[in-house]
Symmetry: C2
Subunit: 341 residues, 2 copies
Amino acid sequence: MQSLTVALDAMGGDFGPRVTVPAAVQALSHFPELKVILIGDEPQITTQLLQLGVTPHSRLRILHSLRVIGDAEKPSLALRNSHNSSMRMAIDLVAEGEADACVSAGNTGALMALSRFILKLLPGIERPALISSIPTSTGRKSWMLDLGANVSCDADSLFQFAIMGSALAEQHLGHAPRVAVLNVGTEEIKGNDVVKRCAEMLNKTQAINFVGNIEGNKLLHDVADVIVCDGFVGNICLKASEGTAQLFIDKIRASMTASSVKGWIARALFSSLFDELKTLNPDQYNGASLLGLRGIVIKSHGSADVAAFINAIGEAVHEVKRQIPSHISDRLEAVLLERHY
Amino acid sequence: MQSLTVALDAMGGDFGPRVTVPAAVQALSHFPELKVILIGDEPQITTQLLQLGVTPHSRLRILHSLRVIGDAEKPSLALRNSHNSSMRMAIDLVAEGEADACVSAGNTGALMALSRFILKLLPGIERPALISSIPTSTGRKSWMLDLGANVSCDADSLFQFAIMGSALAEQHLGHAPRVAVLNVGTEEIKGNDVVKRCAEMLNKTQAINFVGNIEGNKLLHDVADVIVCDGFVGNICLKASEGTAQLFIDKIRASMTASSVKGWIARALFSSLFDELKTLNPDQYNGASLLGLRGIVIKSHGSADVAAFINAIGEAVHEVKRQIPSHISDRLEAVLLERHY
């Protein structure tokens, strides 16, 4: 079995080493091929490891870093002051070939700016995009991008997102994913110029299985495997879905945890329904991927708990095994070839 | 009691007179001051009235129209071929002062184009916007605009939407509404140039109670009374929330309607919770309003049933009583004055 190494920004996120260290330790038993480099304040990491009764070993190394990039730091400033930060050092390890992927729950803007600066973009890609899987009513997953890496995009960027998303989803699904553009209507005349031009481009290529426009209310309905949008719309739309799901879950939870006979019956009879409903909250997943880079960078929610952070590490493992960046390159080449011949 | 007249496009929507005529008849008993002009195919309308045992009277008139604007017609084409259509005639009645407002469940794009062409925009308004109330977790309503009238907007348009939304919401709330801009983060540095510039403008005016940015996951959390966005984002975001709510409602309904002991218990114990959850679906409301015009135009869902169409008529009645267009003008003037002195 070939080993693979993931560099973890142990300091990122709301909880830092209290979440990232136990997650790393547990991930090592989930993924036998995994090696982890924990990058962060060594005393803090060691304290966490001691509490778990673990000492560094051949599959678990610590790399000491001097600073942490704050959540409120502007990406441009973070970029300038990034030296010796846990996030920067994690990305550097990927650039140097010391790690196969990195995972951070830190400042998204800084992670993007640093990844782009250090790892560089794949040829033919103008902007990286943040992609995440979302649940659907059928139990299958869809993927959605961009989720906030780019607050304004042109049609070329959206088209590249479609290619990148399709390459990633194909490695999960094993067949050509259905790609749709998020829009205000399904008809071709609907939407702004950017989505209309992107749809035209997608209609022309054979390399993408383009199925047309998708409306917001069909987001979780398994009508497309890859949903393409700019980061402004994608972020707001996905959060709207998450917020609504959470509201429903909270209301139902309140009735299920009531210390009444009704609450008892609800728990006894309807906990499986409740568990099913919880799986419909897009927020349940963790481990968004920054696509378009010459390397694998996974962004965890800042608020991720241990289980969620393990999911993010798992996504890194999957993407290393599947060599997602090279699949994206292949797909881009196929589209370019199509245009030339 | 002063009467008010609403012109109804009886032919619009998925069900035409089968919904609009019974809704009109019932609305007349809900609103004693209301007079209705039903515009559409007279034989069809009369048939519906006969089934209800009603004949036209001083508060219920029929105006015969020759054609219906189709849902798939392009607005530009609909505009050219609109003469003698039920939608056009309804708007004409408002322009001529024969009606105080019009309501249509027909083609949204055509309704917008015709309203703008016939009624004209209020001075200082560059684009009309579609606004609707949405439910919140506290039981209070918020208002959201634009919901699809404009697929791309500049900062000036968003600023005008904020003024219009604030004027409308104030007439419901009785105090200065909290106005927020829909964005990818709450921090001022977040978002695209359009929302950032709009926020700057809102920060400078005293005429609007601007409370900052709102993220998609807070849409239904009663953190703002008026949520401002362009029609592309607004339409997709609201539909994402509706689609998610509907998914949850459908899953719960399935367990409640099961013909098992569990289904019986669910109905017996949890129907009030279920009813509460249904009120959290933004889709429950009907009667979006086209703001920025020199007249009152209400857009009903195409799929509205009788109860929903009555809500749309009710919104028209409310807006006539509150003279929303003149409140918008007053508010615009206040902002202009502020800039000059």
